[in-house]
């Protein structure tokens, strides 16, 4: 006597096949919807933005006359902020990750720190802006400078870099650490020559993605008092500045249609920058993965 009724199995089969097809259809729908939104977005921006997009648009300062307006100050401001943020957040973030993974004893306290770092990654960026305003602008007396802005951005993306670097360090196989220790290497030698190089692709990918996030952030810098209208490029770390997203925000909040089109042109530049950064991250990941 068979425990499985073949007739019921057969009846269920049609039902299962239908569900199978439906599932596939559902996923295609979800994907096409996102792609459609993206397509509309890109189409609109290109239609509006291509009109003003030119070499002069990149090299001109902002202006009241749309034909003469450009993003030179904002573009350089963004690059200056990155020049501060990238090294500061990389050194602090990777240092923290190495300490937590390699040196810190695994106890309740480090677990507590761990959870808090993960939480910090989810704190709204405006909160970091307020923190930067209190500490860097007011307490340290840096004013609304490139340095204050860059340090605030570093704080913002630090948790992301720490978490990404920890993940990367954790994927380094235990076996090759043992091999290094087994030859009489010290902990520092093992970290510097084995663990760090092996984790570097993952660390760099995480860092670049975090920096891309910083490039697009507006809120913290607005809180710091970054200028909306700037007709000069930052000369040193203590210059005042503006960045691309603030310039775009400024243009979109004006009533004239021309400025909206300028904003679209700026968005194209910003997207190109982000695309380049993400491509670098992908390139690094692929390059190193092939070797191992």
């Amino acid at each position: 006597m068979s425990l499985i009724n073949k007739e019921i199995v057969h009846k269920r089969l049609i039902k299962r096949m239908t569900a199978n097809r439906f599932a596939k259809f559902g996923f295609i729908l979800a994907t096409s919807f996102s792609l459609m939104v993206l397509g509309v977005l890109i189409y609109r921006i290109l239609v509006e933005g291509l009109h003003y997009l030119s070499f002069e648009f990149i090299t001109n300062f902002a202006s009241r006359i749309p034909e003469r307006a450009g993003i030179w100050a904002a573009l350089l401001g963004t690059l200056w902020i990155m020049a501060v943020t990238a090294p500061v957040s990389f050194i602090l973030g990777v240092g923290t990750a190495i300490y937590l993974e390699e040196y810190a004893k695994k106890n309740a306290f480090t677990k507590f720190i761990q959870i808090n770092i993960a939480n910090l990654a989810g704190v709204p960026s405006i909160v970091f802006g307020l923190l930067g305003l209190t500490i860097f602008v007011r307490l340290a007396g840096l004013g609304s400078s490139v340095l204050a802005g860059g340090l605030t951005m570093s704080l913002l993306i630090l948790p992301v870099i720490v978490v990404a670097s920890q993940e990367a360090i954790r994927t380094v196989p235990r076996e090759i650490r043992e091999a290094s220790f087994g030859m009489g290497a010290t902990k520092w030698q093992t970290i510097r020559r084995i663990v760090f190089p092996a984790a570097l692709p993952g660390i760099l990918t995480g860092t670049i993605l975090a920096l891309s996030r910083a490039v697009g952030e507006t809120a913290p810098l607005l809180v710091l008092g970054a200028l909306a209208y700037v007709a000069f490029v930052p000369e040193n770390l203590f210059s005042q500045f503006t960045v691309l997203p603030i310039q775009l925000y400024n243009w979109t909040s004006r009533p004239q249609e021309e400025f909206h089109m300028l904003a679209a042109s700026g968005i194209i530049i910003l997207m190109v920058i982000l695309l380049i950064m993400n491509s670098i991250a992908v390139f690094i990941r692929n390059k190193f993965h092939k070797r191992s």
């Binding site: 695994k106 196989p173 076996e175 090759i176 043992e178 091999a179 290094s180 220790f181 087994g182 030859m183 009489g184 290497a185 010290t186 030698q189 020559r193 084995i194 190089p197 092996a198 070797r291 191992s292």
Partner: protein
């Protein structure tokens, strides 16, 4: 009654070849993982320039023991050790004894081939480099000598700058042996070095071990009793963290004096 007989056997075969100078002297060694008593009052010598095999069923403490000889076992959290191991007359658990120094004298080859994700050349040069050798000429010589010593030079001499991950498993393991030779150790510990290899590669590694014993003292843990019989001079049989029998390999396999040894080598358990 039976217990006393066994005890006598152990005492009798404390050192298989008394005329040989010991490189390690293990004395009342106990080791715990938390509450788990993994090594129980071990007491024996490991002779110089011989191949000493350690056999026994899984979980008998043989891997733990070999990792204790270069103190790699201390990387596990919650390990407690009592007793002493003397390496060339010096207690390796002495707080003044630097573990980095011990490990340059007592090299290790692991169960799974574990080359670094670097070029073949850099894998071998790693050891000398961490000990401060920067001269390119010296490094070149060390690399060639070590690769020749591990019988892999001819296979890799034209591809020294290629990534070691491109080698086969057997080649990787011989590369790891070469890497170990590059720091010019005195003792080489091998923790089941052929368990991840195919029979041909295994044979090559075994032949290599025969060559190496002319210059190095070798301690090898193996699951494979035939391997122990083929390549070792003395064999220790471990069971539940104790040494049941320790004597010349030929004697242990032909005339085991303990019933449990006999049961194990004839395949009745384990």
């Amino acid at each position: 009654m039976e217990l006393t007989i066994n005890r006598q056997v152990v005492e009798k075969y404390q050192t298989p070849s008394e005329q040989l100078k010991p490189v390690f002297t293990v004395n009342h060694l106990n080791l715990w993982y938390g509450q788990d008593h993994a090594l129980k009052d071990l007491k024996f010598d490991i002779p110089e320039k011989q191949v000493t095999a350690i056999i026994g069923p899984s979980g008998c403490g043989k891997s733990t023991f070999i990792k204790t000889l270069n103190r790699m076992v201390e990387m596990v959290q919650g390990v407690r050790i009592s007793g002493e191991i003397k390496y060339r007359e010096k207690n390796i658990f002495d707080p003044k004894y630097r573990v980095e120094e011990l490990r340059t004298l007592v090299g290790m080859v692991f169960q799974k081939p574990n080359p670094f994700p670097k070029s073949i050349y850099e894998n071998i040069a790693y050891g000398p480099r961490i000990h401060g050798i920067k001269n390119k000429k010296v490094l070149d010589q060390v690399v060639e000598k070590s690769l020749r010593g591990a019988a892999i030079w001819d296979e890799v001499k034209d591809r020294l700058n290629e990534n070691a991950y491109g080698l086969s498993g057997g080649q990787q393991q011989r590369l790891c042996i070469a890497r170990c030779l590059a720091i010019e150790p005195d003792v080489i510990l091998m923790d089941e070095p052929t368990s991840a290899l195919d029979p041909v590669s295994t044979l090559k590694v075994e032949e290599l071990i025969q060559e190496l014993k002319k210059e190095y003292s070798i301690v090898i843990v193996t699951h494979n009793m035939q391997q122990a019989a083929r390549i070792s001079d003395c064999t220790a049989f471990f069971l539940n963290g104790e040494v049941i029998e320790y004597t010349n390999t030929s004697k242990l396999f032909s005339h085991p004096s303990d019933k449990r040894t006999e049961d194990y080598i004839t395949g009745r358990f384990g």
